[in-house]
Symmetry: C2
Subunit: 480 residues, 2 copies
């Protein structure tokens, strides 16, 4: 592994991070919240170190698979550390472990928070918080649709430039071009949501922050009561729609913008995701009607919002689902494991993997009765290669393994069983709020420092599809 | 599928069941508990129906894979229904659903009970209850080491007459011979435990019933307070030892009896199982020392007993582990999913499958760094065929799928989240006691009839390695 080259690339990434830190400055000056200096200093630190690494390191340009893994894992870790500077230097989050937790939660679009009081913080700091999610979401789209497929991680090969319909019109294959196209879609959707939210009567600042957090399926809000604070059915529905959209494979949106709207409905993962969203919303509506809500429209609004928020792993709240009927809670916990579509900003195991897992199990049953039949598992019309299926099954095994071990570590910090495993699935699935003492109306402030460290690693592993981080534990990975 | 032939074989199985029902009669007469008539009538019903089916049906003798699945699934179901006759006719369990639940729990060696008061029941009825477990255990050993490998279910091929060491000395391959040899071991171990328990001062009747339930990893006791009622360190240790033994692949015991004791330590699954037993016992001891128990020897006794009881899926109780530290409880819940070794009477996912799951995940990581390396996953020195691995991964996916769906159904009966999923893992893993309101000091009496039906199916599916039951849902299975 070429560590020198990896550090050089970290330099470039830090330069970009420094530039991003300039964005909150105009907001700071507008709101006169006193944090403009903090952002300037933070940006300077990042830029100086970044320039030193980028310019100072001479390295060969040989870039292989292993450097790919290192850049991704180190990149997200560097961003979590250096991105926390504004929180630390402004005094908004005094403890380094807390600041790194919050920043990792941002860049991994998780949305778990250690903040107990949000609204008293400077506006520009909250904008930065939302921006880390939005930037993280940008990273994820490119990671999942262009980088991980190249590295052969967890069956993501299936979704590389996945072109439903004729293959002649694939997404351009080179990473840079792919990135630009998908980011165009991402920016467009963010702008659309911002405008629609402003039409609902909320300020440009709040609209922008919430759009950042929605498209990234992140869930950081500028309000203590999250989206509930707007108390508006219109706002809720706009956000529900965009959460749903953010959970869809972004290459489908790209094709839709080019006029191929039907492609959505030719995509098996999307159809399953749609069915799941509608199905679970309907069941939860039935369960909540008359017990939690008396008005059907209120019920539909809250049930749909919470279903989308959990399934897409956004984590925005408009209702305390821990007060809902047990069966509704059970469904939400189940959704936490599934997550968004592959190639979306959503976390979790991913809809396509769950779908393929079912198909694999069904296939194994079929083979018992028809041992001589030759049939391949397919996703849509694409036969799934055996190697890809092995990789997906390996991902599932790793996910469960990490879940079990991390839950054990969290239980060792004194959390009860529900909170311990809830905290792990909330971070490993990049959801945000968990269950029990880290539930939707609580936060992660009371978790011990050791516990926070475990969850930081969970967020990183979950976001980078496990494999990317775990290959680093092999000694042979580090060999030259 | 030849349903006629399947029914004919059901006839033979019912004849055997009828014969088994004669066994409690001498005990009934000795204790003068008034149930002798019940057993006679029950035996007559089984014998008459059995003879009618066996003698009355003319069928071709073509016996294929599909008939194999049908015989196994129907066989266990018939036993659960007709084996419940003594409970029903004696009035010990008046409701049919309860009686079938209890009997299914017996023949699947699960040990979940709907009885709230055990000691007031006739002795011969409790003996029958323990006997259903013992007979179920006999069935399981042959099923897992001779029948399922032939049917190609869930990777059990790996364990067919698994001969650690030179292959010339394999267990005799034909089902009947294999069965006789393994049953010899089973009977011998049961006899040994019975004698050792009697040396501890308990009656032949209690010793026999508890030995039946131990070797089957069933867990039905003749006492309300389970094994705790004997309040003897000696008894606890004897049962701990035999629970551990019952969780081992019985072909290893067979080789040991033929003098090849070292074979245990050449078997990777056994070594992992041993490490797990000692490791978890040690951790739980550390957690309980000073908090739950002040005496080290008491602590070791209770911690080792409960670890073995849960890992082997026996479910005997000497302590209410729900009062133990959260971390100890967490470990026990984790063990519930693992279960015993393949080819033992233990339930769960099975130690070997968990081991191979880890190895598969590790292998997938390794392949990312060394894409061109050719390496196979091995269990011990045996390379694991890709088809077998696919089947094991399919089993894992099915187990999780069934767990999720069944937990949802249980939550719909009004149980809380912990109790609902606890009830499912306790039955699907054939453990016995669950968590929450179906925990170690509670029982399943309060579950609704619908809930009991779901759990009956869970016990059946878990015991028959899922595949065997689930193939029946394919319409093509039933085609001639």
């Amino acid at each position: 592994m070429n560590i020198i080259l990896t550090l050089k690339i970290m330099g470039a990434l830090l330069l970009f991070l420094g530039a991003a830190m300039l964005l909150p400055i105009p907001f700071s000056l507008y709101f006169d919240d006193g944090a403009a200096g903090t952002f300037t200093i933070s940006a300077l630190i990042c830029a100086t170190l970044g320039a030193a690494l980028w310019k100072g390191i001479r390295s060969s340009t040989e870039f292989g698979t292993r450097e790919g893994f290192a850049v991704v894992t180190f990149g997200w870790s560097f961003y979590a550390v250096f991105g926390s500077l504004p929180f630390l230097l402004s005094g908004a989050i005094p403890a380094p472990i807390d600041a790194i937790f919050e920043t990792m939660s941002g860049f991994t679009t998780t949305g778990s928070t250690i903040l107990t009081e949000i609204e008293s913080l400077p506006e520009s700091i909250l904008l930065w918080r939302a921006l880390t999610q939005w930037l993280g979401g940008m990273g994820i789209i490119v990671l999942s649709l262009a980088i991980l497929p190249m590295l052969g991680v967890g069956g993501m090969q299936l979704f590389r430039a996945e072109a439903p319909g004729p293959t002649a019109d694939r997404l351009k294959p080179r990473i840079q071009d792919t990135a630009k196209l998908l980011w165009g879609v991402y920016v467009l959707l963010t702008a659309a949501e911002t405008v629609l939210l402003m039409l609902g009567g909320i300020s440009f600042y709040d609209a922008l922050c919430h759009s950042f957090a929605t498209l990234a399926t992140g869930g950081f809000s500028t309000k203590n009561a999250s989206v509930a604070s707007f108390d508006s059915a219109y706002i809720d529905w706009v956000i529900t729609f965009f959460m749903f959209a953010a959970g869809v494979n972004f290459s489908l949106h790209y094709y839709a913008l080019r006029g191929r709207i039907k492609d959505y409905f030719r995509n098996e993962e999307f159809l399953f995701y749609l069915a799941l969203t509608f199905g679970v919303t309907a069941i939860i509506c039935v369960l909540n009607q008359g017990t939690v809500y008396s008005s059907f429209w209120d019920n539909l609004r809250y049930s749909a919002f919470q279903t989308s928020s959990i399934l897409t792993t956004t984590g925005f709240g408009t209702a305390d689902y821990e007060g809902w009927p047990v069966l509704a809670q059970y469904l939400l916990v189940f959704l936490m494991f599934i997550g968004g579509c592959a190639g979306s900003t959503g976390g979790g195991i991913k809809v396509a993997r769950i779908l393929l897992l079912f198909k694999h199990a069904h296939h194994q049953l079929f083979k018992l009765i028809h041992p001589r039949a030759i049939r391949l598992v397919k996703l849509g019309n694409t036969p799934v290669d055996r190697d890809v299926m092995q990789s997906i099954l390996g991902f599932f095994a790793l996910f469960m393994g990490v879940f079990v071990i991390a839950s054990f570590l969290m239980a060792s910090t004194g959390l009860d069983l529900l909170s311990a495993s809830g905290a792990v699935i909330a971070t490993l699935g990049n959801i945000g709020p968990g269950l029990g003492s880290v539930g939707p109306v609580d936060n992660f402030a009371h978790v011990t420092d050791f516990g926070k460290s475990v969850l930081i690693v969970c967020m990183l592993m979950g976001r980078l599809e496990l494999f990317t981080v775990l290959v680093l534990i092999f000694p042979t990975f580090w060999r030259k």
